[in-house]
């Protein structure tokens, strides 16, 4: 799972500087970025830029190690960097052109400037910096971000361009629309200006706290896209260097070959290939040359037995092709990204595959070593994916079809031994991958702790210990464990109180989001089922149930009834299929959350007969 976070396959330079300053505080910030678009030939344009930034510090609440980071990608290299603090130039000893410290990228050509300061920044300091940037290809024109850490005095982007060129701006305002102006009075220049913006407070369950605005720029000439901000334009730009019919000269081992030959079902065959790739190609990212955006040749990957996400996906694509199984390559982001109608390469950081079956589509992430066939990491469910195959490129949302309950717990326990319940926990999807990885790589005590943590994150007041692997299927992993319900069942002298809402649905911070109209974002969907059989001889119970339904966003069902053998059967089922919840669905979910809390105030009561 951890690896997904670092698979940068498109290193298009996100706009630099301001958004990258590490420290926070009270400062005023101005930016002026001037792009110059030149004509190189028919529908061919060059791009260069000049950027100027000024930051005035209004307080001295800054760390000693304040630094500025400016990305310096190989394809859009920086020159003429000039940094001044209070007018005095900061020289080489404080400016390093360093490799980008991505833990899981082993080799990379892209670099960044790291600028530190000769002394701590204090109130009244003025920092200015400027530089030029030359782009190999106009396609590398970055997204522009306005940071949310500063009071923005002025943010100005100016394009100088031939008259046939049109500049289009698309905005993503995570905190609400901001006033801005566009000046096109000069046919050879387009100017976008933001004035006097105030930073917004950080919100919980919200991934865009660091930016006030993201801007996607579409350049067209006589109505034809110049930079790839549509699927068609992206395909036209990207596909010429991608071989959609890769040759696989190497052979996969005999075990997999025999399995393939013995199977007739396409999905079964695909599963063999998927398992082969995820289990035999380890993750090492070599991003040199074109490998930051294109996968290596399958022969290369076969020989090395390592690669990044693109290499995993492309090898699977090639192997499937050889078996006449139709796959497409897909790019996606493991994190939430600014939402635009248009597309931009930097919005994707991961590559997966899509099986194009006649009756169904199946997404496959062969980089995830521990994820069983047919599952996707939670962080990808519900995201938009750009599908690329020989026929073109198109955007699709990964189907929100119910991925099934990924956390199932059953417990049998007696009243006289609440601390020693017999439990089985079955994990699927990302949770199964997490547990499998923990089982493979962690020592026994750490595995125990990891599994106990999974349970504790999901369930209140029930503890688990002494996990042992019970069953491992293709889709799930089941552990037996000892369950402790001594805090779950509350005893007074002659009554027992049993919670009706034991799940941790969200942290209390969620209520801070009640008044705004922005979406709430979870890391992934949730689906859990808990079944408890509690032996209560000598007690009587009024059967009870709770049903909460927030439409497509969430549902909760609890049924509590005593059977004839004096066993109280408790069934709790919680579903939240969406990771991002917005608009009216958000209102419904907030109401659901509050109702869930209210329902939890009442408890099931068992009384002595």
């Amino acid at each position: 799972m951890k690896k997904f976070l670092f698979f940068l396959i498109f290193i298009i330079p996100a706009d630099i500087g301001p958004a990258e300053i590490i420290d926070q505080g009270n400062a005023e910030y101005s930016a002026s970025i001037e792009y110059k678009i030149g004509r190189k030939g028919t529908m061919e344009y060059s791009l260069e830029s000049k950027s100027d930034y000024t930051i005035d510090y209004k307080s001295d609440s800054w760390f000693i190690d304040t630094c500025i980071i400016i990305r310096n990608p190989a394809r859009a290299s920086i020159g003429g960097l000039n940094v001044r603090l209070n007018g005095k130039r900061i020289k080489g000893g404080y400016i390093f052109n360093a490799p980008i410290p991505e833990e899981e990228i082993f080799l990379d050509e892209d670099r960044q400037y790291v600028i530190s300061f000769p002394s701590q920044l204090k109130k009244g300091d003025r920092l200015t910096y400027n530089y030029r940037q030359e782009f190999d290809d106009i396609a590398w024109l970055p997204l522009i971000f306005i940071p949310n850490k500063y009071h923005i005095r002025l943010f100005r982007v100016r394009f100088e361009h031939p008259p046939e060129v049109n500049i289009g701006f698309e905005y993503f305002f995570p905190h609400g629309e901001l006033p801005h102006g566009i000046d096109t009075s000069d046919p050879k220049a387009t100017v976008l200006t933001f004035n006097l913006l105030e930073p917004s407070a950080n919100l919980p369950y919200f991934p865009f706290n660091e930016i006030q605005t993201a801007i996607l720029i579409s350049i067209s000439a006589d109505g034809i896209p110049v930079n790839p901000t549509t699927p068609e334009a992206f395909f036209g730009w990207y596909s010429p260097n991608l071989n959609f019919a890769p040759l696989v000269t190497d052979v996969i081992p005999e075990v997999q070959r025999s399995a393939l030959d013995s199977l007739s079902d396409t999905l079964d065959k695909l599963e063999v290939l998927y398992d082969y790739v995820r289990n035999n190609i380890r993750y090492i990212a070599d991003m040199r040359d074109n490998a930051s955006i294109y996968p290596h040749d399958p022969a290369h990957i076969f020989a090395l037995k390592y690669g990044d996400c693109k290499d995993h996906a492309y090898l699977l694509y090639a192997l499937a092709k050889k078996e006449n199984i139709p796959l497409s390559l897909c790019v996606i982001n493991t994190e939430y990204t600014p939402e635009f109608q248009g597309l931009h390469g930097s919005l994707y950081n991961h590559m997966i595959c899509r099986y194009n079956g006649e009756s169904q589509a199946v997404y496959l992430d062969p980089t995830s070593k521990y994820l069983p066939f047919g599952n996707l990491p939670d962080c990808l469910v519900g995201k938009e994916v750009l599908i690329i195959d020989s026929g073109g490129a198109r955007i699709e949302e990964i189907n929100l079809a119910d991925t099934g309950i990924n956390f199932t717990v059953s417990i049998r326990v007696g009243l006289d031994s609440l601390g020693w319940g017999e439990a089985f926990l079955t994990l699927r999807g990302s949770l199964a991958a997490f547990a499998l990885e923990a089982q493979e790589e962690l020592s026994s005590p750490k595995l125990q702790k990891s599994l106990a943590d999974i349970a504790a994150i999901n369930l209140n007041d029930i503890g688990f210990r002494d996990f042992a692997l019970e069953k491992r299927t293709l889709q799930s992993i089941t552990f037996s464990a000892m369950a402790d319900l001594s805090k779950f069942v509350i005893a007074s002298t002659e009554r027992l109180y049993i919670p009706r809402c034991p799940y941790s649905v969200a942290a209390a911070y969620l209520l801070n989001r009640e008044s705004d109209t922005l979406p709430i974002y979870f890391h992934g969907p949730a689906a859990a089922a808990l079944h408890i059989e509690l032996g209560l001889p000598g007690y009587k119970v009024q059967n009870d149930s709770v049903f909460l339904d927030a439409g497509v966003t969430a549902s909760y069902r609890a049924v509590m009834k005593m059977n004839e053998e004096g066993i109280l059967e408790l069934d709790y089922d919680y579903r939240r299929p969406q990771a991002k919840i917005s608009g009216r669905e958000k209102e419904a979910f907030m109401a659901f959350y509050k109702n869930y809390s209210i329902a939890g105030k009442a408890m099931l009561i068992a009384e002595v007969k």
């Binding site: 420290d23 926070q24 505080g25 609440s61 800054w62 760390f63 000693i64 000893g93 404080y94 390093f96 052109n97 490799p99 899981e104 082993f106 080799l107 990379d108 670099r111 790291v114 000769p118 002394s119 701590q120 850490k149 917004s200 407070a201 950080n202 919980p204 380890r282 993750y283 090492i284 070599d286 040199r288 020989a303 090395l304 037995k305 790589e441 020592s443 026994s444 005590p445 750490k446 702790k449 504790a456 805090k487 509350i490 005893a491 007074s492 002298t493 009554r495 109180y497 942290a507 209390a508 911070y509 209520l511 801070n512 509050k594 809390s597 209210i598 939890g600 105030k601 009442a602 408890m603």
Partner: protein, 669 residues
Amino acid sequence: MKGTFVLVIGACLLVSCGTTSKRVAQFVVPEIRPDQYEPVDIAAYEQKYGKEDGVYLSYERTMEHYGAKVNEDGAALFGVFATIGAGWNYVDIVMRKFLVLNPDAQWLTTFSIGYKPKSLYLRVTTPDGNVRQYGLEDLQEEKDERGGKNYKFAYPDIVKGTIIEEGIQITFEGQFAPMDYDIPLQFSIPCEKLKMSYAYPDWWGIMIKDIRKGYRPNYILTTDKINHKNFLTFEAIDIPAYQAELFAPYFKEIGNYLEFMVTELSMKTLKMDRPTDWVTLNERIWKSFFKKSEKNQKVIESTAHEIIKGCRDQSAQIDSVLAFIYANIRVSDMDVDADYAKILEKREGSNIDICGLTHALLQSLGLKVDLVLVHSARDGYFDPSFVNLGQFSCPAVTVKMEEDTCTLLPYVGNLPSNHTPEDIQGQAAMILSKYSSGSFEQIPTGNLALNSVDDSLEIFFDADGRTSVKERRILRGFRAYIFREVLRTTPSQNIETIMQSQLSYFSGNVRLDSFVITGQETYNSPLILDLLYSLDNLITITPDEIILKTGDLLTLNPNGNESIDSVDRRNPIKISYDEQYTKNVAVHFPQDWTMVTTLDSTTVYNRLGSRYGNFSIDDGALNINQFLRLNKAFGSKDEINSLAALIGGPANAAIPAIVFRRAGMDKSR
């Protein structure tokens, strides 16, 4: 600090002699012998080493100086490095062989080196005996941030049970060769066989540091008279891995390593002239860096007296001077200069100069102060016989008051004057002065600041079951310092979010109604957080009874969600500070309620600390008083259960739900 200072500690003068120390270390690429391949019992290794990423089957490192004495006169300055040139060579050879148990451990299955080796072989043997070998030509070059080069290689086709062999020979022609050595003898994975050798001309001298009092690793010293060579050799087998843990000492406090320095040397035109006593070292430092320190005394005096206007005692004077420094002098990377008037004027200076200025200001007020360089526990044991500036990493100012000595680090913004970071507590400090006799003082062991968090809560219920909570949290010592830093670096629009994260209760419908922060700007006073919040799902009211689901509200859990692993403990236990936490909760309930739940008082007491919880009902309130104290202590790993009993995680510290019954209600209705 060291970078500037170390240059003064050695001086090379002339030498005359004609002896040659020949090279003895060889770099031989082992022959590939497929016929002698013996399959590895991977299962046995897995069983033996559990979930380690791998295991070094052998690890051998040889460092060697060789060359001739030359009859020439000359002189040069050098410190812990010396330039290698014609007639003097230095080679560093590493040959290691390891078994991969976790093929996904990228750090183990890739090769990176920060300089181009003279020679290299990298060999991969798969479990089926297939061998592939790589060399210098296979390395990928990458520039580092300072314009240097890194060389990298990712081993192909790695599976569990693959054996990787690495042989690296580095030569230092025309470069600096180290004169001080700090060599780890323990790694992050186990090592079955280790050999470290340092070979040097037999007319040189070296000195080895004690890594604990009276203890050095079990090395041997031998001589090869024919080749004029001395050898320092360390060998060991079955060395366990070292891994950091919570509440554990620093590696150098418990791990095995070899630290030594060259004390006598003559090569080419160079001769070691290293201070052999602390007096000489202090003199050289003073002459080199502090000559200007006595200039402009009047400016210092007038500034100092201006700063302390209105201060009634020494403590107040110290705090005023410190506050002045924090507010007016910024830390910069300037060289040590010791012109304090200039620093006051420019309002910036290096760490050492800021200490020097603080020292000068306090001294001008007649306080008993010393400018010191302090050893850190991070650097292990301080060996007084090992005269090397590298033993000190922290400049400071000590002030002797009537009863206490306080240690000031005036370049660490807003650190209270009575707080001493744990890594320098009890450590040796070398006094820097013009007339020093090379004397030392010891930084006080105890931390003068009381490091505590005192939490008091009052909980009230209304008829609808809504709960309001009035919470006051008082942070002292480093707890206050750390939280003050959090507040200081948080934009004002996000302070409320930070305060919300401080509530004792955070697992339900909670709303922060108001908050007040007191003492945020006065760095040496307690930091007080007053929080008022309401909850609407804390209690359940049934016809008969009321259930108070305490959640985390009553929990005393200073460790947050961090719990210590008591099963698989590897390292001894270290508690860095005396720490104290109290949580006093008054649950106000109506007169007609009676508490049904029995709460048992708890007491845990052991050498590492104590913990208790008392419960009483008084004037319509349930009073819950909890106390936790951790004692600054060092203990064996066997004491982990004692520590777990005190701070074993949130679950252990939780108080169960509390049930009340209303008076007059018919319990059997």
